[in-house]
């Protein structure tokens, strides 16, 4: 394979805080990223337990370009396996969410248990003498959980999930309300962003009060939070109490921006390579994403409340999730626009992305104000090394 470092122009990439456009658009770089990031030593959040709460519940999704099934395979236990028959690679289920004690391949009738192990085949008496069913289980990924979030990795050599998440853990914990209270799935908003997966993840703190007109019109910005990166993979998180909205008369229905739960109002976790977990006001959402080539990213905004919420609070969370912070949300729609508008120029080999705000006189690159973009550079330092540039 053509190594990315041999690609024209990239020999010039000296400073990881100035990223060549080509990195966001080149097909060969993208193919290598699939191996390094999606099939390499990264843990991918695949589901929350609240999406598959009962034994035999499953969810289909993609890690990188590979379809997988996340299954609640036994009480409190989860299996994640490639959604492809161990015989001839046929997709075992096309359902997004379902409940099944096992999976039967439609092609030749091979049956697998819900943990991916082979249960039965048809015509085994005519298989070769050295056929061993133990070699024909589904490809299982390593699985670990944290605070009701199911993670999986293809890489047997990946570090433990605990080491992988590092100092992101407290931020993630706040997003899901501490990890003890069971969550309740409220629904999905799925969208295609016509942008590179890294551009989706480059979204920073610098832009928030500038891009999002809603914050200005509602006089609803501020707070003194900070962003904290992990010094390694480039995860970063935040959690702070944002000020409550005070009705300034702009909205006809200000109830939709109220914070009613009494819970912490702002938290976020940027989990590399491509997941975001966000809590804002009373809205809790995980943005599960997957790259679809260098120029396209599919994102599933997945919303939660708590199982013990009273009906009014649950309805309030549904209203906020449906109206404020999704791909077409009152506050967040402009992010969608920036993703797509930024990608348009990425084919220009002479261009660079510059990360500046927060880079001046900053003693700790892993910490910045909530309105900086400097913590994003921790990812780029690691990326440049990991990818061999």
């Amino acid at each position: 394979m053509n190594k990315p470092s041999e690609l024209p122009g990239l020999g010039q990439w000296h400073d990881h805080t100035h990223v060549p456009f080509q990195v966001y658009s080149d097909e060969a770089i993208y193919r290598r990223e699939l191996d390094e990031y999606f099939y390499g030593p990264f843990w991918h959040p695949v589901a929350l337990q609240a999406e598959i709460p009962n034994v035999n519940d499953y969810k289909s999704l993609y890690i990188g370009e590979t379809p997988v099934i996340a299954v609640h395979s036994a009480e409190g236990e989860f299996s994640v396996m490639v959604n492809a028959c161990a015989h001839r690679g046929v997709q075992l289920t096309a359902e997004f969410l379902g409940n099944a004690g096992g999976f039967t391949c439609p092609y030749h009738g091979w049956v697998f248990k819900n943990d991916g192990s082979l249960l039965s085949t048809i015509g085994e008496e005519c298989f070769p003498d050295d056929y061993d069913p133990a070699n024909y289980n589904l490809k299982n990924l390593r699985v670990e959980t944290f605070c009701g979030i199911v993670f999986a990795t293809f890489d047997p050599a990946a570090p433990s999930l605990d080491d992988f998440l590092g100092n992101l853990k407290p931020h993630m914990k706040v997003v899901v309300g501490g990890g003890e209270r069971p969550l309740k799935l409220l629904g999905y908003q799925k969208i295609t962003f016509n942008t590179n997966w890294k551009l989706f993840m480059d979204n920073d703190g610098y832009h928030a009060g500038i891009l999002h007109a809603a914050f200005r019109l509602l006089d609803f910005a501020g707070g003194d939070g900070y962003l904290e990166a992990d010094g390694h993979y480039g995860h970063w998180g935040m959690n702070y109490q944002s000020k409550d909205y005070e009705d300034n008369g702009y909205l006809n229905d200000p109830t939709v921006v109220e914070s009613r739960s009494g819970e912490q109002t702002a938290a976020g976790a940027c989990v590399r390579p491509v997941t975001q977990a966000v809590r804002h006001m009373d809205s809790i959402n995980f943005r599960f994403a997957r790259p679809m080539g260098p120029n396209k990213t599919e994102v599933h905004y997945t919303y939660f409340g708590f199982a013990d919420d009273d009906p009014d609070l649950l309805n309030h969370r549904v209203r906020q999730g449906s109206n404020l912070l999704g791909p077409s949300g009152f506050i967040s729609i402009e992010d969608s626009s920036i993703f797509d508008r930024s990608q348009k120029a990425m084919g220009y080999t002479g261009g660079q992305m510059h990360f500046l705000k927060g880079m001046g006189s900053n003693p700790d690159i892993n910490r910045s104000s909530q309105n900086d973009e400097s913590v994003s550079t921790v990812f780029w330092a690691d990326y440049k090394t990991r990818m061999g540039f």
Partner: protein, 162 residues
């Protein structure tokens, strides 16, 4: 509920469906608002959320105040930040029913194309409407309009109501 066959009533329903489509295709948000009754509601969701009995929506204007705020978002807030597109709706009325209480339950199919500023056209979403239509001061209006998208993953973000 009985199937609605009265020609004059169906003509008035068609007129409302056309006013709705014309307002959106003309990016006339006040015209869109005017198709709802004084207690009107609008919801846009996906067949997937409906199938799994999940209440979350893509747009949820469950009171007249929220309908008015949606007009504000489009006309005042988002402005030139979002990438505007020309919507083009194709709507076909399906089965209409009534139980004689003055409310008409109308199902119709939609396909919605969008054309970017750069002039490229694609299908944005396909689905159906489940509407409840009432007469208010002599005019047919939506008491509730629910768009249910077969398209779980649109090819770009949606700005305007569908």
């Amino acid at each position: 509920m009985a199937a609605l066959t009265d020609h004059d009533t169906l003509t008035l329903i068609d007129d409302l469906l056309q006013r709705y489509v014309s307002a959106l295709d003309d990016l006339d948000m006040q015209g869109w608002l005017a198709t709802f009754s004084s207690d009107g509601q609008y919801r846009l969701t996906t067949q997937e959320n409906v199938k799994y009995n999940l209440p979350l929506s893509l747009m949820l204007d469950d009171c007249p105040e929220r309908l008015k705020d949606r007009v504000k978002y489009v006309d005042e807030v988002w402005g030139n930040t979002v990438e505007e597109y020309q919507p083009r709706h194709f709507v076909q009325r399906g089965l209409s029913k009534t139980n004689g209480d003055g409310a008409y339950h109308v199902r119709s199919n939609f396909s919605l194309f969008y054309t970017s500023k750069e002039g490229h056209t694609k299908l944005l979403t396909v689905g159906r409407y489940d509407d409840v239509i009432v007469e208010e001061q002599g005019v047919f209006k939506f008491k509730s309009k629910t768009g249910i998208m077969d398209t779980a993953v649109p090819p770009r973000y949606i700005i305007y109501p569908v």
